[in-house]
Symmetry: C2
């Protein structure tokens, strides 16, 4: 999707990919198959690139440091990425800059997790490995000390967080360039199912201008303080206390185009992908404003049937305004294989159209 956005800008991509089957490897013209965990592979790859960027945060920090020491331009840089790679580092830094977070601390073992729970309102709590988690992986909902053992099995440091009783999840997406120019997209509502992003609504319905402004300002401040270059997604919890006061807490950070920004491909003047490319090349950024009153994104998950072709025909024929984005992946149950965007003036109708298409493509409905 970043390549797609780079074509009109005249930007040429070289891709380092694990396998020729990766989505990006199917459409980019210059592909190197190799392991991003191998420094020699990275060094060979980086030769001749004006700038290196990422679609995940897993390139080892020491390799990024080595590339930077070689004079390779890496955006976002190693120092910024450290906060997206390690949730412990991220939480410590957010505390330093006064960003609101759930109560948290690193815990050493299940007994320490129980102590963390006792320091607050008791169980349940959330345990997360500080590295390697995504889409609900590496995250445990823990009801008791006995429940806590799984989180420590990977041998990765574990962060404990209070279980936030949130009203909903939001995301504040911004893009920042090395110049320090930054643009903020409308704050969106993100609905998760089984820890996986399911639906994104732009803008977040009913969100007060005040809280939306706070969320955007927070995301811009985090980007500046952490020296983020490119797209930054700040995933947030929105809470409502007994007095009816709404607040936001930072849940996660992602320093790359993010699922909560896929709606921008069809719903914003400039997509997150185009602005990420502009930012990492230090080009002036494009207008992030929405093009429709409401835009809805629903992820398409694989269902029981590996062949989506007839469902694909049905959805296109049923809704000629539907924007389908498929990733060229083999269909496996529960795997994200694409997403759909819809937009319009009536939120209920826009939501229904996206929901119907995603469900029909997955095969959970047949009419």
């Amino acid at each position: 999707m970043t390549h797609e956005a780079g074509i009109p800008l005249g930007i040429k991509f070289k891709l380092l990919s694990d396998t020729p089957q990766d989505s990006a490897a199917q459409v980019v013209s210059e592909v190197v198959i190799g392991d991003y965990r191998d420094l020699d592979t990275l060094r060979d790859f980086a030769r001749g690139c004006d700038v290196i960027t990422f679609d995940h945060e897993h390139v080892p920090a020491e390799h990024l440091a080595a590339l930077e020491a070689d004079g390779i331009v890496v955006r976002p840089g190693r120092a910024a990425l450290a906060h997206a790679q390690d949730k412990g580092v991220m939480r410590a830094r957010l505390d330093e800059i006064g960003a609101p977070s759930p109560r948290h601390r690193l815990v050493a073992d299940p007994a320490d997790a129980a102590a963390f729970a006792a320091e607050g309102d008791g169980f349940p709590i959330i345990l997360k490995t500080v590295r390697g988690g995504y889409d609900g992986k590496g995250v445990w909902f823990v009801r008791s000390e006995a429940d806590a053992h799984d989180a420590f099995r990977a041998g990765v440091a574990v962060l404990a967080e209070e279980k936030v009783d949130f009203a909903r999840e939001l995301a504040a997406n911004i893009v920042r360039s090395p110049h320090g120019q930054a643009v903020a997209y409308p704050v969106v509502e993100s609905r998760q199912v089984d820890g996986v992003c399911d639906t994104v609504i732009a803008p977040a319905p009913g969100l007060s201008d005040e809280l939306a402004g706070q969320a955007q300002e927070l995301a811009l401040r985090i980007a500046k303080e952490l020296d983020v270059v490119g797209h930054l997604a700040v995933e947030l919890f929105e809470t409502v206390d007994a007095e009816g006061t709404h607040r936001i807490l930072v849940n996660e950070l992602a320093m790359r185009p993010h699922n909560s920004g896929h709606w921008t491909q069809d719903g914003a003047v400039t997509s997150q992908f185009a602005n990420h490319v502009r930012a990492v090349l230090d080009l002036p950024l494009g207008d992030p404003r929405p093009r429709a009153k409401w835009t809805v994104m629903c992820n398409v998950l694989g269902g029981d049937f590996p062949d989506m072709y007839s469902a694909y025909l049905h959805c296109m024929a049923r809704d000629p305004q539907l924007k389908i984005h498929m990733y060229g992946k083999d269909v496996k149950p529960g795997r994200k294989v694409g997403h759909v965007n819809t937009y319009g003036d009536d939120l209920d109708e826009v939501l229904e159209r996206a929901r119907h298409a995603a469900d029909y493509l997955r095969g959970t409905i047949v009419e």
Copy 2:
């Protein structure tokens, strides 16, 4: 641009390209370098393709016939493409179906051209080689018999047409699928400079609903009668007679995504490229309706400076809503190297923004 539109649809492209420097060859993942005039090259290329389509009309008709005889699916097919490849065939067929054309006939030599002029209002007349012309090439504005010799030098049959005293040029763009499903884009105004498309305004300002409907109906009828599959651009003259009656005449046909449809990338729900891909794969077509009140496209021509980079930065910074589409071509004076799209509610402002960006990129203005 067709590849770009195919990515979200999950469509994989294989490209036959003259050189690795061609715009498409820079971004498509599977590229075969070869000569489209060589049948063996075409046959080797076609193996394993579900469908073959084109971004120009110059593949020899006999080769298309051979591919179709091999069972290769070619869309649009040879029989339809014959009308876009040969202006004589096109005019004869348009006459058969009663489509309005300028007065015309094939002429054998300069004396016959003079006879054609005398049959009507005299010189000036237009001479065109029936094959191989584009962007003003292969077209002569002829004021006398002596003027007419150039047109016959290529040894290609020559079509004479009256010089139409048109008020402006329009284009009616439609897309048709093998199923017979068809969609019509709003009729646009197309402004040419030195025979090259310069500006397109969607929809055509001040065009009556009646004439717009006639133009769309005509394009749909031509597509059906000629069995066109994919995008069809019908370039039109709009005339106004002494009584103030507006009429349309067919100027040219193009059976592929066309410069007069580039505005759809940012101005329509579904771009001409996406709908061309959908049509040639016989997928249901997408909504052709505009997303803005006005959309303007201006072509970016090369100027005297081979490096557009600083102009590119300036235009992005000046207008964050500007949609730039660069083709990755070396800049040469007068060469089409990209286009820009702008959209909004105020036509004057939208026109000024596109015009400014195109002029600044070319270097004809510096502020």
